[in-house]
């Protein structure tokens, strides 16, 4: 099947990638990944620096040339870029708003640039924040700029939002306000978001699904509901650490008041009996599945 066959795109699948790779010269930044994003999801894209997150996002909006199959909103991102940007919006990790502009001018500008932008909605969203329409971008704090940017982008009547490290460098209150607006104003059960971040613990409860990249490879593509079913975390007394280790957990880690072990699937009953089941956290999974080779070597 070629991408040209997508005449009647499935309206329930917003992104479909099959054997997608992106190479820069000799380096393979994204290595044979396959996944799909249905409508109404909040998908976290997790990975260390250099894991390929930004490259993958660029490919989704037609800014990087991939090999393999990729369909976004039923379109070919590079060939149909103009049409794609009608239905998908993107805040890159290097996003900036012009420092000299007033917020009201940005609204006017967006209205002229984007046919599906609603100035009225932008004003409504900005009213939730402490950003004033007459404020100049250069007078805003970093957190306010991020909120203004989200308000502008969320005022586009699109189906997919792609956010590359949107809260990097923001303080905790600004991050909270950013995600509150995203959940409140964007997620309506139809639209989806793909968001990359390092702050795994913070976004965990916001996500419906997670994609984990490690050195360009997709090491996990799963819904959070499945995480609870598939992975088992056992908190246990340090005294039984050896028996736990013998059952080959994915990860051994420390929790409040003791040790814990994370298993992919149900460990044998005699092992389960040694500990107490706790909720497997995304950050532990992240550590277990994306350990850097040099960290692995320390175990030998």
């Amino acid at each position: 099947m070629t991408t040209a066959d997508h005449i009647a795109p499935s309206t329930d699948t917003l992104v479909s990638a099959r054997h997608l790779s992106v190479r820069y010269g000799r380096k393979t930044a994204v290595d044979d990944v396959s996944f799909s994003i249905p409508k109404g999801r909040v998908v976290g894209l997790l990975g260390h620096n250099g894991a390929g997150k930004t490259t993958l996002m660029k490919a989704l909006v037609g800014l990087a040339e991939p090999a393999g199959e990729l369909s976004v909103l039923g379109l070919h991102p590079q060939r149909d870029r103009v049409a794609l940007l009608q239905g998908a919006c993107y805040i890159p990790d290097v996003a900036i708003l012009p420092r000299w502009a007033r917020v009201s001018e940005l609204i006017t500008l967006m209205g002229r640039l984007h046919p599906r932008f609603s100035a009225e909605r932008a004003r409504q969203l900005l009213a939730r924040t402490s950003v004033g329409l007459g404020d100049k971008v250069k007078s805003l704090s970093k957190g306010m700029v991020a909120q203004a940017h989200l308000a502008l982008v969320a005022s586009i009547d699109a189906r997919l939002m792609i956010l590359d490290e949107p809260t990097l460098g923001l303080d905790v209150l600004s991050r909270k306000a950013f995600y509150e607006m995203l959940i409140d104003e964007w997620c309506d059960g139809e639209r989806s978001v793909l968001v990359s971040t390092h702050q795994v613990e913070e976004v965990e409860s916001l996500l419906s699904d997670v994609l984990m990249l490690n050195e360009g490879k997709l090491v996990l593509s799963i819904s959070l509901e499945e995480v609870d079913r598939r992975f088992v975390a056992l908190s246990h007394d340090p005294a039984v650490a050896e028996q736990m280790a013998a059952a080959h957990p994915l990860l051994k880690y420390r929790v409040q008041g003791g040790s814990a072990a994370l298993f992919d699937g149900e460990p044998p009953p005699h092992v389960q009996a040694l500990g107490r089941r706790v909720r497997p956290s995304l950050v532990d999974l992240f550590v277990a599945l994306t350990r850097k080779p040099e960290l692995d070597r320390q175990h030998f």
Partner: protein, 123 residues
Amino acid sequence: MSTWDDRQPIYQQLADLLAARLLDGDPPEGAAMPSVRALAGQHLLNPLTVNRALQALAEAGLLESRRGLGLFVVPGARERLRAVERERFMAEEWPRLRARLRRLGIEAGQLDWNTDTAKEKRA
């Protein structure tokens, strides 16, 4: 940013939190529950997680769906919750509390059962 612990799935923790509020009459019996979006925004949770929590409360017979209107608190929900909580207290918390009182040598008569005087003393 989040207040969720690692003991239970997040949806279960939200269901427990909402049940505790129902027990306090928030929202009262017969009234509408807050919308999924409102709860999601308020608790910074994925709407699907909120849905699962509400579903769990509905399955426990505490909420009912009215077509086109959303979820409502079932009449008698508080009494049902209170009965469940009482049972749980007697089975789990009371034995621990009794053991602790015994260890500390506190008799029933020494406990102040009048919350009003406790408040006055603090004031």
